[in-house]
Amino acid sequence: MSGTAMIEAHDLRKSFGSTVALDGVDLQVPGGSILGMLGPNGAGKTTAVRILTTLALPDGGSARVAGYDVLTEPAAVQRNIGVTAQDATLDEVLTGMQNLVLIGRLSGLRRTQARARATELLDQFELTDAAERVLKEYSGGMRRRLDLAAGLVTRPPVLFLDEPTTGLDPTSRVRMWGVIRELVADGVTLLLTTQYLDEADELADRIVVIDHGKVIAGGTAAELKKQVGGARLELTLSVADPAASAALSSLVDGPVHTSHDGRRLRAAVSAGAGLASTLVRALDAAGITVDDVEVHQPSLDDVFLALTGHDSDDPATAVEPAGSDADLEITRT
């Protein structure tokens, strides 16, 4: 199926009262690939997924999933998709096994087939020990894994995962990523929404950035990074020195941002051979000592900040320790 689009949407529009959730969204997901839909809370990601999975009707536009029109052939779409929604969508009162069997039976499997498939999935997701436990007793990570398993009962060719790792601890997230990667190795087409930039970078073949109900950028992770431009320099001085900015200004692109304590500096740079040495020598010549210097290739964080105009110019937030980027959750302020 690769090559032809398994998920395609054209000019999807949806409003709730005066709130515009989707303002003309176009999507193309070729068979066997993963599209990461990246955006903050309220950007319209969930609404798009709800329309594509037949849960909501668009006000305008059209969409086809697995070759079927979501508006006129919802039953055919439903037979070809698996959905893992953001909210709890499994039955709290049933056991893990009962949940999967129920979904199997409602998808058209006979009781024995549904049971066999459930057993297989519980094993695959390392939930066999919890099979007979009521869902209320599951941890967040176990629940998400079961939720994902529930989407796979009929081995659908198209999967929708709406924020599959939101709210999970880092270990469970990494485990979930492993599970998702395995799925795609089997050739399913996947649309994944996420607020986590590293997650999209990690899993998706292509990424669309969505904000205020519009796709504001799209491409591979590398293409998006290129769109944002150069690398980013972060320097930590031994002691604050107002002369540092001037010493650097001819070597960087644009303004130098200084943190409140004056010790940490940040600026855009054009990465090239020997750049770090050149920078340190320039500061040395000005009598300024450097504790730490880092040149970052642009991350998806930078992409997102640049595209949405999120508060990226504020020096207080701009000079975050680099390590925190991985856990940065974008929320609208």
């Binding site: 709730f16 999975t53 037949t54 439903q78 998709i81 959905v83 929604a85 039955d91 058209g108 659908p156």
Partner: protein, 276 residues
């Protein structure tokens, strides 16, 4: 590896039946595992039966004779089945406020199965509830005085009514914003419905307005019909109001009318509630 997928399956009437069966089973598991719902159909009927028979029974004198015990069991069936119909409202409202209905809606299943399965599961719990009342009654000395077919009809008329009420409660569940509000509103409607009737006391000594309400209350028609079928004391037979003179016909009309109104309304509300 098993290669059967739903994509290859035809979706006929048989599959609809399977969808309903799967969901009915799921609802019954809920009732079994939720202590409050379970006690509504097990502990409560026993407790109410004992309390009413021994507390009220000591003070009520039946016009036309007969023991309160023989009079009360049909009334207790009516009261317990009416109030336990609330489970439908609370259950549906709970499902709608969680994401579970959304999950069902992404499956290639028969959409009305959610409602049909709910009403069937509630019919089964109503049967359990009725059995608890009957067994408690038999244990303390209540005796039906009729043929087996007539006794069976006496219970069937309750179950039909209970099924009808649960469609009304399904509407309530879908119109409510939360399970709590469904329960609150349900109590306000169902308790007076059960109490302002001939179920627990003869209506002769009620104030005129209440007497009229009670005589035309569907619960009274159902109770009177059942008393007649069970061969138990039925003082309402002396009342001239039409439903009390024709309780069998009246209760059947009531039940069918309630189903005719509330089942389509429920499916309309369901569609509205799950489309956005």
């Amino acid at each position: 590896m098993n290669t059967n997928t739903a994509a290859e399956r035809p979706r006929g009437a048989l599959q609809r039946v399977r969808d309903v069966a799967a969901l009915t089973g799921r609802n019954l598991v809920h009732i079994k595992r939720e202590p409050l719902q379970l006690s509504d159909v097990t502990v409560q009927p026993v407790l109410f039966t004992l309390l009413f028979v021994y507390v009220f029974g000591s003070g009520v004198v039946l016009p036309g004779g007969g023991t309160y015990k023989d009079f009360a069991i049909a009334g207790l069936l009516a009261m317990n089945l009416t109030t336990s119909a609330m489970g439908t409202a609370v259950g549906l409202s709970t499902d709608l406020s969680s994401g579970v209905i959304d999950r069902f809606r992404t499956l290639p299943m028969w959409r009305p199965a959610v409602l049909v399965a709910r009403s069937l599961a509630d019919l089964m719990t109503a049967a359990i509830c009725a059995s608890f009342v009957a067994i408690t009654g038999l244990a303390i000395g209540w005796r039906p005085d009729a043929g087996i077919a007539s006794i069976a009809a006496g219970f069937a008329i309750f179950l039909l009514f209970s099924y009808a009420i649960s469609w009304g409660c399904a509407c309530l569940g879908m119109a409510s914003k939360s399970p709590e509000s469904a329960q609150g509103v349900g109590l306000v409607i169902l308790f007076p419905l059960a109490i302002v009737s001939n179920a627990l006391v003869p209506t002769e000594h009620m104030p005129t307005l209440l007497q009229d309400l009670a005589n035309w209350n569907p619960v009274s028609a159902v109770t009177a019909a059942s008393r007649r079928l069970l061969g138990n004391p039925n003082p309402s037979a002396a009342i001239h109001a039409w439903p009390m003179q024709h309780p069998l016909l009246a209760s059947t009309i009531w039940s069918l009318a309630l189903i005719a109104i509330f089942a389509p309304l429920a499916s309309h509300l369901y569609r509205r509630r799950t489309t956005n």
